[in-house]
Amino acid sequence: MIYFDNAATSFPKPKAVIEAMENYFFNMGGTTGRSGHKMALEASELVFNTRESLAQLFNIKDSARIVFTKNVTESLNMAINGFLIKGDRVITTSVEHNSVMRPLRYLEQAGKIKLYVVQANQAGMVDPASFEDILKKESIKLVVFSHASNVTGAVNPIGPITQIVKSYGSNTLIDAAQTAGAYPVDVEADGVDMLAFTGHKALLGPQGTGGLYIREGIEIEPLMRGGTGSNSEREFQPELMPDRLESGTLNVIGLAGLGAGVKYVLEHGVVNLRQKEMALTESFIRNAAKIPDVRLYGPKDANNRVSVVSLNISGYDPAEIAYILDRDFDIACRPGLHCAPSTHKTIGTFPQGTVRFAFGPFNNIEEIHTGLTALSHISQKEGDV
């Protein structure tokens, strides 16, 4: 099987990830912050180490400002619902995943916020200046945008956008689902206020792990309240981070795996991993463009994208292409709307969608060639299964 669905979840995971989880399961087993015995201490240290590795990766000064969640959707919901209050004005873009769009549209529909949507171009790129057009006229509390699109792979430059947003005294929430581990992220250098990430994509950890970074000076309301292992004599949620936003027993086994995944990324270097993935992506795009009837979406310049490529073949339903790739060529990719209807409307592929190829650190050039051969084969046939 050739796995080209790394934007959904990465596969395979580094061996160290499985080993770390196995080691926790068989040899550790305690939970964090709930008792004082050696096993609890070991678990607490494990969780601490994962937090520290993430802080190193994103250049976060104080790892206590990172809270763990079960995925980036929870992180985004926590930030959006915990930061915004009635009457706030918010900007987002037309190329967001539903994990951003749905919580924002819900608050808009409930009459709690006013939402402005910045239009991206047909390649899925957002002009940083278009945020300014709204910021000039309205008092905006929060600007939410994805670092890279899960459909087109287009990267929104964090630095230039954040600079504009900050100059108007507003705040940023960045959805780094597709970039954490795959593209450099430096929250200090770029002045990011909140960063939402998932553990099971380019950070190479297991599903059920994710997190939210909230810079010092910003306090948000918890999504949940409950036991934290601290302040136990009080019936009110503690104020201190990360406990304030981390109620209930953590996914320690998952965080063991995530810690090993982040370590793998740190050891290999985000820049090196990206270089490898982008070499594969460039080769794929260059050769796919030569196949008759193939239409590619997203930015032409590889510098402006991550290793996510959407395409269509004339005469085919995207689901049909993915089905043939799976059935006849053992190639896994994802057709449809990728939980991002607004993005597909922006690039002109709504409602049929596209077929998405997403390459990871364990793909190789032979697999790319096999994928291209399969696409050529499909394009030469009529659109019937």
């Binding site: 912050g33 004082g36 609890a40 601490f48 206590a64 601290s230 503690p238 201190l240 406990d243």
Partner: protein, 72 residues
């Protein structure tokens, strides 16, 4: 034997951070359940001897660890 002090915290995160900082500075310490009289906010604390207390304070303040200390 010199007097012993307990260094206590509001969060498990800070306990582990303190433990690692003291380990790195080669300062002897022990993790103990927080004595009830301190009504601490976190179940785990660090026990250190009186003669290192000043150094412990210095290191933990420098590293931004949130803590308090008291005679055990």
């Amino acid at each position: 034997m010199s007097a012993e002090y307990v260094v206590y915290f509001q969060s498990t995160h800070d306990v582990i951070k303190a433990k690692k900082e003291l380990q790195q500075a080669c300062i002897a310490h022990e993790i103990i359940p927080t004595p009830k009289k301190l009504s601490s906010e976190c179940g785990m604390s660090l026990k250190v001897e009186a003669f290192v207390l000043e150094r412990v304070h210095e290191i933990l303040c420098l590293k931004g660890v949130r803590f308090k200390s008291d005679l055990l």
